[in-house]
Amino acid sequence: MTDAPHDLLSPPKVRRSPVKSILLHAVLIVCSFGMLYPILWMISGSFRPQEELFGSSSLIPSALDLGGYVRGWSGLQVTFGRFFWNSLVISVLATIGNVVGCSLAAFAFSRLRFAGRNFWFALMLGTLMLPYHVVLIPQYILFLHLGWVNSPLPLIVPKYLATDAFFIFLMVQFFRGIPKELDEAAVMDGCSPFRIYWKIMLPLSMPVLATAAIFSFIWTWDDFFGPLIYLSDINTYTVQLGLRSFVDSTGSSDWTALFAMSNLSLIPVFLFFLFFQRLLIEGIATTGMKR
């Protein structure tokens, strides 16, 4: 039985008697179903005829009805298409910003030697612990004076300034693991620091860059607090804000449509989960991420 040394998470398989094995899997399948039941319920609920939802707790709708999606999509004065577009623009630009901003800083901290480096590094670690709430109000005032409130800029620009210290830390850890001989050789050959960053570090750091990018995207997509504060014109709303307005406007009168739009809002995150599940789970296992 081989036990891959790099696999942090999968213990070697154990042989069990068939009865024990079947029992174990039966329990696990029931538990998995229980874990997912609320989500499955929401998916099936979104396809039900409006009046049927509260008839039964069964997962199979009596008829497939797309009415919820139709009513939900244009349930507010602006369609959800607009909200999806806004969310997509913000998430993509914020993700690029995080990767660029944080990798530049991480490169300086891990590879360049300059006066004051340890001092700045200690300060950067200090910001990891600082709750967002202490900078919230002055940042709001700053963006208000810049005329950025009611635009996506406050949700995008700070990412380019590497304000998410967590990702810097993540990348510093990874960069330190790349053999120093590589860039020393490059320096001998007259490579500039920028070329080393661009031609050596970044290509060798794809796993950590991908992890940072995926988590950045998901966190920005899911973010509710930032958009709630900065965006008040419905044309600038993200999906999360759109959903919240939809809740407030329909209350509990049209769950089918609410579920339909909720499901749509989860699709991007779910796709990342589907395609990059291993990267996500290893990212959490190796860095201790909170979500």
Binding site: S32, I39, I137, T163, G288
Partner: protein, 317 residues
């Protein structure tokens, strides 16, 4: 001879050049370092340090965004700590939430991780399924779902009616229950601490269990004598991270109560109260004071955790 002086001459020139280039290289190196660090430095001063100092200053003022800040000394802090029933409510709600949700979530996470650590076929799939709620959980969509599940005509009541003929209340609009629905939501998302536990369990050398088995130690004894002590660093890490996150919880309470923190302040999380003061009433000074009190609470908690950790966290060195 001539060639010798020439080489000497050339040698001193290269030495001089080397000295000059060493100095230049040092300058270049510093310059390069700061060029790469520039975005972060701008962010640090402009968006972190500056704002943090500004909010400390604002916390001693009354400020409504329209008139310039009005210095009031410690009045905001005094009022928060002695004469603010909503602050009291927010503290009660937040602490109840933290104290209930964190240990239960970690207990589930550990139990499932241990079940998964016994060499199961298809582990990757099960693990992914149990992790999914944790990934999706902080979105508005899941909060919407929770509203429906625990509404008077929601899934939970429907199931209770079908199974026991019991007519349940509207859980989210009853001040006795609303907070507990949010605790449940948090426990359901035990996926990421579970994955961290799983990684921790994998680090425990297998021969320790084999040796214990030889010595006749039962499963329970192995758990308390090997697994638990060796896992304490991971338990400690998970509990600090999850507690800090729980103190900062916002979205589910906001969606379930439509931003009010109701019914009767029963879901008034600390951050929700802060949000209301800042962006509902535009009491920016007061809200800044609330933010700094949150920082003090979180810092005290973290400091005590690290002090206490000496007595129960087992480090392998």
């Amino acid at each position: 001879m001539a060639s010798q002086t020439e080489t000497m001459h050339r040698g001193s020139r290269t030495a001089a050049l080397r000295g000059q280039s060493a100095f230049r290289r040092m300058l270049d190196r510093n310059a390069a370092g700061y060029v790469f660090l520039l975005p972060w430095l701008l962010g640090f001063f402009g968006l972190t340090l500056g704002p943090a100092l500004a909010s400390l200053y604002l916390s001693f003022t009354n400020y409504d965004l329209l008139q310039s800040p009005d210095w009031v000394g410690a009045a905001n802090y005094v009022r928060i700590l002695t004469d603010d029933p909503k602050f009291g409510a927010a503290m009660r709600v937040t602490f109840t939430y933290v104290i209930l949700s964190v240990p239960l979530k970690l207990a589930f996470a550990l139990a499932v991780a241990m079940a998964f650590n016994r060499g199961i076929k298809g582990l990757t799939l099960y693990r992914a399924i149990f992790y999914l709620p944790s990934l999706l959980g902080s979105s508005v969509a899941i909060a919407v779902l929770w509203r429906q599940l625990f509404a008077s005509d929601g899934l939970i009541n429907m199931a209770l009616w079908q199974a026991f003929g019991f007519e349940g209340p509207s859980w989210i609009s009853n001040p006795d229950y609303a907070l507990y629905t949010l605790v449940l939501l948090s426990i359901w998302q035990f996926g990421s601490p579970m994955i961290i536990f799983l990684a921790g369990l994998r680090q425990i050398p297998k021969d320790m269990y084999e040796a214990a088995e030889m010595d006749g130690a039962g499963k329970a004894r192995q758990f308390f004598r090997i697994t638990l002590p060796l896992l304490t660093p991971v338990i400690f890490f998970n509990s600090v991270i999850q507690t800090i996150e729980a103190f900062k919880a916002f979205t589910p309470a906001f969606i379930i109560s439509e931003g009010t923190g109701g019914p009767i302040n029963s879901t008034l999380f600390y951050t929700l109260y802060l949000y209301q003061e800042a962006f509902g009433f535009f009491r920016m000074g007061y809200a800044s004071a609330l933010a700094w009190i949150l920082v003090v609470i979180i810092s005290l908690f973290t400091a005590f955790s690290f002090l206490g950790a000496r007595y129960w966290v087992h480090y392998d060195d």
